[in-house]
């Protein structure tokens, strides 16, 4: 079968802007997108630039955007992409600086992984094998990460805020927080360092990182556990933590979310923040969009209260 590959080309020193080029190639059964790129480079255009090494989904260097999603080229079947999307459109990872064609600058990615200090700090405690095993079952899928960067490229928060630590680094941070060998103070300072802007509370839970990760790391699930650890160890002052605790409290009280009270739970006693939400609140009130702060909209909210109380 002869198929067309549309590939984004960009040489920042020579080109004013990225442009697409189309290559036609006879594809064989079982061919991957990486196989196709290598053949295009060898047979049609030696300047085409992309990274790869292992060709078997281990090194993480061949991640790119294929038909709108972040994928490892070496693990993506040409035929299946064709069947699913009716074409093959290939570009570099998004929202990272392009070095040339399909190769992006991963510097910011590595910088963020380094920033969370991905090593055991101050591990005075030599945990017994059992304790380590217990912790490891909680973070084993984070250790499967091959640092391909797909999750960061797909992350909707990273798209608008390049400073966000991002899914891979935060998942890695969780892996160390969950490691029984790290000392209590080290763990506390690790959690404290992630409370600020660009940290654990910036994630919108959009699920993109879970969707694109080729290794089923589920970074968002790790971020959620990181947040839980933070709340349980007393980091409850951030807007994000107040959101979670306040939300649960409202459900325990009304059974359903009360949108009249939710903003107040998040902003706490900040007058500045109150003045920020007030105008919208007034406009919503005029449109009949503010529910009564006194009543629940469901029958029998006390049963939900009892249920959540049983959990505490």
């Amino acid at each position: 079968m002869r198929l067309a590959f549309t590939i984004q080309r960009y040489h920042p020193e020579l080109d004013a802007a990225p442009h697409d080029e189309t290559y036609r190639l006879d594809v064989a059964r079982g061919m991957t997108v990486l196989d196709a790129l290598i053949r295009i480079k060898n047979e049609q255009d030696g300047r085409l630039t992309f990274r790869y090494s292992c060709r078997s989904a281990i090194c993480g260097s061949c991640s790119m955007t294929i038909n709108g999603g972040e994928k490892l080229a070496c693990r993506t079947s040409v035929r299946r992409e064709w069947e699913r999307h009716g074409g093959l459109i290939v570009g570099p990872l998004r929202h990272l600086p392009v070095l040339k064609d399909l190769s992006v600058d991963m510097g910011s990615f590595w910088g963020k992984v380094r920033a969370i200090e991905p090593w055991l700090r101050d591990s005075g405690r030599q945990a017994a094998g059992g304790a380590l095993a217990a912790g490891a079952s909680r973070f084993h899928n984070v250790d499967a990460c091959i640092m391909c960067g797909a999750c960061v490229a797909a992350c909707t928060v990273h798209e608008v805020d390049k400073g966000f630590l991002g899914p891979a680094a935060l998942a890695k941070a969780y892996r160390f927080v969950a490691d029984a060998r790290e000392s209590g103070p080290a763990r506390t300072s690790r959690l404290a360092a992630l409370q600020g802007p660009t940290g654990m509370w910036d994630c919108t839970r959009c699920n993109f990182c879970v969707e694109v990760c080729p290794k089923d790391v589920q970074p968002m699930e790790a971020i959620i556990r990181l947040r839980r650890e933070a709340i349980e160890s007393g980091h409850t002052g951030t807007g994000g933590a107040r959101h979670v605790v306040g939300f649960r409290d409202l459900i325990a009280r009304f059974g359903r979310l009360n949108e009249a009270l939710m903003p107040l739970k998040v902003i706490g006693w900040s007058l500045r923040k109150f003045l920020r939400v007030l105008p919208l609140g007034v406009r919503m009130l005029l449109k009949g969009k503010v529910p009564s702060p006194l009543h629940s909209s469901m029958d029998g909210p006390e049963r939900v209260r009892a249920l959540l109380e049983r959990r505490r």
């Binding site: 999307h85 969707e211 459900i251 979310l257 959990r311």
Partner: protein, 303 residues
Amino acid sequence: MKYALYPGCAAKGATPELFQSTMAVIGRLGIEVTELTASSCCGAGVVGEADPDGALALSARTFAQAERLGLDIMTICGTCQGVMGGANRKLKSDPALLQRVNRLLAPERLAYRGTVQVKHLLWIVVREVGLEKLADEVQVTLGDLKIAPFYGCYILRPSGDLGFDDPEHPDSLDKVIRAVGAEPVDYGGKIKCCGFPIILEKEDIALAMNGANLKEAKDGGADAMVTPCPLCHMSLDIYQERAGKKIGANLNLPVLHLPQMLGLAMGVPAGELGLQRHLVSVDPFLEKVEERHVERHKEKGQV
């Protein structure tokens, strides 16, 4: 076609127009419902951040109520669909977990046996009502009007839990827009995030996300946007003016809930769809719909 209607929080709180418009259209589509009036919040993924088992118990409790009625559940919120769909998969595939969660329900004499399916109105319209039946009900030719679909995260991802649309190129909402006679706008933002989960505490980030999606739709020629998720709606409608300021663009794009769009196409009076409750005025869009309504009647020789 009968379902246990799970209203969720927003349709009974800050977006009452979603509940109102749902009730105004489902009868015409042949969908009957019994409302689960004693159902709670699904947890919205937030309760689960603090208390995973508690959050699962909230969903299991709702499933048990529907199971008692012998009905599958219809959701009208993309977030509820994602959260409850995921909870259902977990509970059905892990007997020990189901048992643990059922223990939390026992004092209410409830237990979930794992027999309920959870489906969003969008999916029911596409798969069960059918696009042909929907097209038959259409009274107004929206013709050249362009509507931008905004799917919302939880109805698409993680696709393993949902299994309805292709998460990279979903088309269910696009198909519904076509079935009501309008033209869907194709734009990258349609599968992205509205920013709502962090809008209270990280407004700047959320508005940048939200604004970019709205602007992209607008630049694609959209006359309106439609979403199957009321939380997206809150972000896209209530915060639209601020998002426009943040990104320096005049957005002014009316945002419809899915059943409101269905209702307009089926000729349900705007008043029954709660359109006056939006913060971004829907009037410019309604005028365009009205013009086309008159034209359609002229064509049919009824004016």
